[in-house]
Every structure is written in C-alpha cells, then in structure tokens.
C-alpha cells in the first residue's frame, strides 16, 4: 500500500482507481440502462428538453419481452449453451492430456511440438474459416450445432494445452515420483495425484474456453444460417440490426442476458480461478 500522508493515498490510489473503474464499468452500465429504457426515451433527439441519456424514470421490461416473444432468443441461448459446454468439454479433455504429455513425458521434440501447437492458435480465425467452411460443407455439417462443436476446438485445444502445460510444470515432480514408488502406475499417478492437484488450472482453462466459445462470432456467422440454429452473438446482431436500423433496446437486453451465464460461471469458480492464476501448489 501507499505510505505517507492521506492526500497521497487519494491522489495515487483512490482517484486513479475510481477513474479506472468508471472506464471499465461504463459500457456495462450503458448496456443495462439502455435495455430497460422505453423506446420513447431511447430515440429522443439529444437537444430536446428533459434529455437525460444516463438515467430513466420509467424502466420497462418491454425489450426483454420482445426478445422472448418476437425472436428466437431462448433457442439461441440454448444453442449457445449446448455448443459452448460440449466444445469446452472436448477441448479440456484433449488439452489436459496433451498438456500433461508435453510437460511431463520426455519424448523427442516435445518442446518444439508445444510451440507448434501454440502457433496454430495464432492463425487468425478470419483466415481459417475459409478452409474450414470447405470441410464443413464436405461433411454436410453446415447449419448444425456440430459445425461449431467440431471447429471451436481448433482454437480451444491449443489454448487449453498451452495453459495446462504451464500448470503441470508447476506441479512438483516429486509428487508423481512418490506416487509411482507408492505403487501407482503412470496413469494412476496422473489420475489420482497430478490432475486433482491441477484442478485450479483445469478450472481456469475451462472458464476461458467456455467464454471464448460463448462469445465466438465469425465461425457461428459463417457456418449457421437458419434463425433456429443461431447462437446468441450472431442471432442478436443479425435479427436485431435490420439494414441500418438498430433495435437498441432488445439488442442491449440480448447482450445483457447473454453475458449473465458467463458472469455466473466466473463468480462460481472465482476462488479456484484466482488460485489457478497464482499457481498455489505446495509439496
């Protein structure tokens, strides 16, 4: 903490902190307030009397109701959840095993293989979707959730592998050696000792992977076309922006409802998640 006179604390800590918070939270505030303002207020010209963009005296659920009554929002929410959970699960399983192998089994080229996997993560999706679209078309997976469940791991697995590699490296080798002397096979040592110790790391990888697939836009936009198959990010933007007309109320309500599951996931695992980031493993 900052020592010294009280004003120093204010100038160097509280004021910068407040500015930072304001900067960070304002978009969320804007999203929340827009989603509950009646249309009459939303589309009022800025120079009219009583113009107040930051507050409303007549909050309304109209936009939320519109979302569920007039669009397929509930279906999009379900699609997104299903796709995100399945692709995260696939990526986590692959990532944990690959990360373990790359960090613990001394085989030739383990280091360069790890780097290679990471490099695939760096290829931009905006380029990758072109060959992937061809593959999806050949396997007739277009416009099904499987087109995303199978393509999301192309960037989630490298991501999870890389994260888990680092985490497994932080787990003391002696734990595993001790287990193997105690009578565990390599597989049992991994299952009973290394993976339970690495749970915080696995949770952080899971949360990141879930968020990435929840928010993914390009693949979802390219591979899905019928409204009943869409995910939240694509559904909201394609159905609520028509031409140059933005339905700001439902748009913001959709964005708000779309970010709630992620927020719940974060807060639920936050303890493990922070432990994962600090790598609190002790022998």
């Amino acid at each position: 903490m900052i020592e010294g006179a009280r004003w120093r604390k204010w100038v160097f800590f509280y004021v910068p902190m407040a500015l930072f918070l304001l900067f960070l939270l304002f978009p969320f505030y804007w999203m929340v307030i827009t989603s509950v303002r009646p249309d009459g207020e939303l589309y009022r010209p800025w120079n009219s009397i009583n113009y107040n963009p930051f507050w409303t005296w007549k909050p309304t659920w109209d936009h939320v109701r519109y979302l569920f009554d007039q669009t397929l929002f509930a279906t999009w929410l379900w699609n997104t959840t299903f796709i995100a959970i399945v692709s995260t699960a696939i990526s986590l399983v692959c990532g944990v095993f690959a990360g373990y192998a790359l960090s613990r089994l001394n085989f030739p080229f383990a280091g360069s293989l790890g780097t290679g996997i990471f490099i695939t993560y760096l290829v931009p999706q905006t380029l990758l979707f072109i060959p992937l679209a061809e593959i999806i078309r050949n396997y007739r997976l277009g416009d099904t959730p499987w087109s995303l469940i199978l393509t999301y791991p192309t960037f989630l697995i490298p991501f999870c592998t890389w994260l888990m590699m680092g985490y497994f490296k932080a787990v003391p080798k002696e734990l595993e050696e001790c287990a193997r002397i105690d009578g565990a096979s390599r597989w049992q040592a991994m299952l009973y000792i290394v993976i339970p110790v690495a749970i915080p790391g696995i949770l952080s990888a899971g949360i990141f992977a879930f968020t990435l697939s929840w928010n993914e836009f390009i693949y979802a936009l390219v591979f899905l076309s019928s409204p009943g198959q869409k995910t939240v990010p694509v559904g909201v933007t394609s159905e609520l922006i028509r031409g140059d007309v933005f339905f700001w109320g439902p748009l913001m309500a959709g964005a708000l409802l779309g970010s709630i599951p992620v927020a719940i996931a974060y807060s639920f695992f936050v303890e493990h998640y922070v432990a994962g980031l600090t790598g609190s493993v002790k022998g």
Partner: protein, 363 residues
Amino acid sequence: MGQVVLKGINKFYDSVHAVKDVNLQIRDKEFVVFVGPSGCGKTTTLRMIAGLEAISSGDISIDGNVVNELAPMDRDIAMVFQNYALYPHMSVYDNMAFGLKMRKFEKPAIDQRVREAADILGIGELLKRKPRQLSGGQRQRVALGRAIVRHPRVFLFDEPLSNLDAKLRVQMRVELKKLHLRLGTTAIYVTHDQVEAMTLGDRVVVMKDGVVQQVGEPLELYNQPANKFVAGFIGSPAMNFAAVTVTEANGSLIAENSGLRIKLPDETAQRLRGHIGHEVTLGVRPEDLTVASTADRDHPCFDAVIEVVEQLGSEILLDMKVGEGVMVASVEPTMRVKVRDKLRVAMRPSRLHVFDAKTEAAI
C-alpha cells in the same frame, strides 16, 4: 530382508558423467549414508536405486534380484523426499493410506497399519488434517509415516531433514535413529551434512564428482580418511592442512614450509621415507593441537599468533596464523587467551595425517 548391491553403476547425462563406477554392498538392516557436496552424484545414485532414474551401465540388485528394469512400484522400496512431497489434496490419513490402496490392501488392514504408524510417529491427532495445516516437523513425520506403513524392504531418504530448522533437525535426527533401531529396515540416506552422516550411519559413503571416495564406519572415516577430501569433509571444524616439503636432517625427517618446521614423529617418518625432497600435505585436526607445555617436549611443535578467539562454551576455537597459513585449534574452555597472543602449539604425534600433494591420497 533388504540387501542392496550396486555393481559398476554409471550414469551419463548426455556428455556429463554424473556417477562413476559405484560398487557397494549394503547389508540387511544396515543404515548407510551417502554424503558429499552438492552435485557429487549422491542423489542421482539414490534415484537410480529407487528406479526414478535409468542406469547407464551396471547392475542394482535387491535381495539378489537384479532390479535394473523394474518400475519403482515393483522394487518394494519407500522413499522420503526433501520437500516431503505430501499429496496436498489428501488428508494425512489418505496420504499414508495411498500406497496401501494402490497395492489393493483390504480396508481394515490399511486402517490398522496407518494407525500403527501414526502411533509410532505421534501423529495420531493429525490424521484428518490436510498437509497445508501442518508445521514443517509434522509434515516430515507424515512423510516418514507414509514410508513406514508400507513395510518396505528398503527405505530411501533424500535429504529429509534439510528443510527443517536447526533445532528440529537435531530432534528428528535422533528420532530417525530410534525409528531405524525399532523397525530394523535397511535404510539408504542422502545428505550433504556430515554431522547427520556421522550420527546416523552405520556406514558412510563419501562421494565427490560422482566417485566414491571412501566407504566406512563413521569413526573409521574420521580417524583414517582415505584422502584429503574425506579428511577435510568429515569433522567440524575441518582438519587443518599445510603444504610442506620433507627433508632429512641428522637421521630424522623434517617437514617444513616458510613458517613451519617440525620434526616428524618416527611412525610418520617411516611412511614418508620415500618422499624425501618432495612436497606433501600435512593434516591435523583442531582437537589434536594443544598449547605446548613441558610435557610435550617430544611432540612436534610450532609457533603461532592468535587472530580470532571463538568462544563456544564447551570449547574455544583459536584461529591462528602459522607462517603464511592459518590453522584452527580447539582448546579447553578454561584457557585464558586473547587476540595477538603468541603461542607455542604442539601436535599429538599419533594423530598426524599425511597426504600426497598430487594424488591427495593418504600416505
């Protein structure tokens, strides 16, 4: 039974020859300590016995069976690691039971063994706790408990006390010795602390640069070191060394350098007949130096100036300037001396060690 035989063990890491041709027979129920400075290959040797490190050449056998190719789990050994390596997500009970569960023991048998070990180590109260809720000494006990529940043929210890504070280390050292006397299991112990080696070991193996320097009982190493390294490594404060040239005068042998000139006692002189005109290293332990009195007239003597006086209570250590070099003497605590005093110092003639200046082997 727990007899371990190492035959011509070598270990290469790429081009580094970490362990060089180690041959050793460890008897059943014996407590053998490997000691040496860091990087001497002692831990690597232990890990090869455990099966955690592959052997480049040679054979390791336990009770007559060559175990080179056996997995660690099939060697019937237990190991205590330097950082305890307790499983952090398991309770003390589960930590100790893990090895038995893996070996498919029945639940009642596991329970009985864990409680028995916990009683021996006095950790019965801690069985439900997690490792992070334990102090260093308690963790150490749990690590020991995990090893003894298995009733293995051989215990392997990899510097198990080095993470403890000085007082606890002494206490645990005594407990380890008691435990060994009680269980009678063969133990192989690695440490860099020569005091641990001397107090715990039935036999001590001194290693340096991957080579075994000497194997012997603690006092044998202390009294008859095989070379200058062992002489300097075992014993605290360390043995004093002085490079001298052997000359002959009036039929007796003289060892001298720029500040030192002593007549060698007959017994030592016998051994040095072949070294006249050559340089050798003279070694004498601090407790074998005394302030000369008339009774010591026949002992080899030299002059010294006191530079530092270290009062330890039970003894006084005198750091002295002798010619160009320095020597340490351990004297009676009642002696009244102060810095810059000039002394005449006598060596106990029977306790004089001589080493070849080139090979450093004892002569």
